[in-house]
Symmetry: C2
Subunit: 344 residues, 2 copies
């Protein structure tokens, strides 16, 4: 089969790889119908050291089950399914408390002999726990929005949930990438009254307004902080969703949150140390969030996608074929494209 | 009046200062019956640069109201009252949501012309919001425990509340100082089933066991972490209360908490930067806590003190007169004394 493999920064290639085969009794093989490029794929695309072996890419996909192993009973050949961005058994104690990202039998696509999602097919470990059936046909116009349940929409929702967003709240979303925009959807869905979106790409912030942002702050740094605090009445915002992951955006979050407020981080931190000293303690700031247990949220979010209440698939602004995946990476890295959809 | 004043590291003096007088219509003057030395007083005692003017010390006290200004109606001359460690109006929006530490009209004792608690009397700003009447006589044996409501017991409780301690939980308390020990009391009071106390001063950890600690870990660093994880069944503890404030104890907390768990920090951080990078995100660790809104908790905790359900006053292991306050600092800094009670 053909699949996207990264060999180092800027070096994504489409190549022939062995067709996935059942290896474990809990496996399924899924023929990919739609996949996409994640913002987090751009970090290795910018910085991965060159390697001779390469790493299969992609962790967001939906497709049709082709084959299931002996212990799989929840899905069957022919089912259209979506996969969360890590696989999981959905039964261990971590999964039981909704932390599927830490599943005892879970893992990541593209590592340890598991295929990536940007390819023609994927061997999915822990298929019963991982895969969720989609009650639509493979040509449904809802597929892009259903694909976001594999990661970005579940991640934005995780940000809103862990930030503690409740009806009537004021929320700041830092970052107008696909995760930030999905966090806007999630905050609105949970009843936030005021949603300030920080970002400076007009096309993206315009989409953010359509998703529910009530205010857009294009300024960064001190100016941006001053503008957010002004919008929040001077004291800062109760709930901040930080969807970028740089030290600067963490500092912006800390300076924009009200005393006693909560910052939920979604972006993979591009720093090891952060300013969590006395000021954070005196102000009772909570730092929470993390990698989303996307699997935990699929059943909750799917009905709203099916009913058209939310349309997170609008974050996909260009479609590439699998052979064009290298172009998709380049276009996203150059910010020509917000989020690239990939068809086999 | 006589009062304790710090002029620099290791330099606490008892000196004559002007008797407190009403300055604002919301003031009261309180004659101190009991005060004490806080663990946080030891940081300036170790590191404060020498100064010519000095800083009145102490922020934990109870006493008898001597005089009230025109706008004060909640307390009257003769009332025995306890004061939380910062004053507050108890009516602003921060106080209304329980964050009295950030009160719009609040402040700290010993700063900006406000007396410290380690003296014969204190002018208390925002007396109606700050002072809470004690339904006992001034010679009650409960006074030391009631005094802890001004800070340490309210701080330990804040740790347990923000860590999210619930019935049946496993909790790790890092630090066997007075705050750590009060956190043990608070965790038990909220129903924690297993309470692991990390500390290596046997007299203190013994008291911790009497307060409710089910296990004591005397080891530090890697050894201590391994022991805690072993006690927790290998994965770490769901709730950690960090009651020391060094980078090492934060690292211990991060290494001891289970994925998805919560660390509440109570100790004043002796660091500006902490390790809050990718690992914390991948593990969904929440960092919370902060300076306690002690005023918020007095009404909730006082009945349990009055009923003898909790006896946090047992953290006081030696009594000094005000004139001996310099000895009290020395004894606490040398770890001869856990927490020093001061009588005028």
């Amino acid at each position: 089969m053909r699949a996207a493999v990264m060999y180092g920064a800027g070096d994504v290639r489409i190549e022939d790889r062995p067709d996935p085969e059942i290896q474990q009794p809990t496996d399924a093989v899924v023929r990919v119908v739609l996949s996409c490029v994640c913002g987090s794929d751009l970090w290795p695309y910018k910085s991965m050291p060159a390697t001779g072996t390469g790493r299969p890419m992609g962790h967001e996909f939906l497709g049709v089950v082709e084959e299931t192993a002996s212990a799989v009973s929840g899905v069957a050949a022919g089912d259209l399914v979506v996969a969360p961005f890590t696989y999981c058994d959905n039964t261990c104690d971590y999964c039981a408390r909704g932390l599927h990202i830490s599943c005892r039998n879970g893992g990541r696509y593209g590592f340890a002999g598991v295929d990536g999602g940007q390819g023609e097919a994927v061997r999915v470990p822990q298929a019963d726990g991982t895969l969720v059936k989609l009650p639509v046909d493979a040509d449904s116009p809802l597929l892009p929005s259903l694909l976001t349940l594999s990661d970005v929409m579940g991640t934005g929702h995780h940000g809103a949930v862990t930030a503690g967003v409740e009806r009537g709240d004021s929320v700041l979303v830092i970052g107008d990438g696909a995760v930030g925009l999905c966090a806007v959807i999630a905050a609105k869905r949970l009843g936030a009254e005021r949603i300030v979106l920080m970002g400076r790409h007009t096309a993206r912030t315009d989409l953010g307004r359509e998703f529910g942002a009530t205010d857009v702050v294009a300024e960064r740094g001190e100016e941006g902080i001053a503008r957010v605090r002004e919008l929040a009445g001077g004291d800062g915002v109760a709930r901040v969703i930080e969807a970028v992951g740089t030290l600067e955006t963490l500092q912006t979050a800390l300076a924009s949150v009200v005393d006693g407020g909560t910052i939920s981080r979604l972006g993979v931190p591009q720093y090891e140390e952060g300013p969590v000293g006395a000021s954070m303690i005196m102000r009772n700031i909570t730092l929470t969030g993390g990698a989303s247990p996307a699997r935990a949220y699929i059943e909750e979010l799917m009905p709203d996608v099916l009913d058209g209440v939310i349309a997170p698939g609008r974050v996909f602004d260009r479609t590439f074929t699998l052979d064009q995946a290298p172009d998709a990476y380049r276009a996203m890295a150059d910010r020509q494209v917000l989020k690239a959809l990939i068809t086999p």
